[in-house]
Symmetry: C2
Subunit: 104 residues, 2 copies
Amino acid sequence: MRAPDHPQLSTVSLSDALGALADPTRRAVVRVLTDGREHLAGDFDLGVAQSTLSHHMKKLRQGGITHSRPDGTRCWVSLRPEFDERFPGLLRTVLGLDTEQARS
Amino acid sequence: MRAPDHPQLSTVSLSDALGALADPTRRAVVRVLTDGREHLAGDFDLGVAQSTLSHHMKKLRQGGITHSRPDGTRCWVSLRPEFDERFPGLLRTVLGLDTEQARS
DNA sequence: ATCGATGTTCGTCGATAATCGATGAACTGT
DNA sequence: ACAGTTCATCGATTATCGACGAACATCGAT
């Protein structure tokens, strides 16, 4: 697996971040990651094809939200801690609002 | 002018709201509206065609963020106060992060 | 060297987005 | 009645999105 691209946080726009968070599947990924740990990409079972999940992971990386660390044939995904320095409070606010009825 | 549609806030999803806020032109509109007053739709000069601005206004309405009140041939636009009850803190957070460099 | 597992990339599809100019609808003022 | 203003809508264009399967790359294990 080629090492994925992680943009500098300073080049990530608010539109990029909000665009990444506007999709419910991607928010579901982020919600899992808020435990602060790394998760295997393959452990997300969100009802989409593997290639689709890979696409969403790319969007999250480009939005500066997540970090992907290849490990052999697998891939560990985690939140980028610096994201909250770039956009303070955004993740907490968005995820806090992401209740059952608001989710779709 | 036909009266524009304003969705019930309970039917507006977080994805709708975030999608509306993900566009910099629309955030520029919202930023103006945070003075709490009504503004004429024609007073926004954001460098896009009139029809394009109308399109953005529609997105903001559909995201539950703004209210449009026709008045003769013109249209007064304002924030929907209930939006903050539906998504508490979202507008304040997003607009607070919308600095010059993050804007695009 | 081959195989299976895991993700990424590619090509494609239908749907939606953002933009524009042109047209239409509704109102105002003369 | 007519002309002008203001905004919405239409039609077209171009781009992007989310989805899929298929193909590809990389690695570990056999």
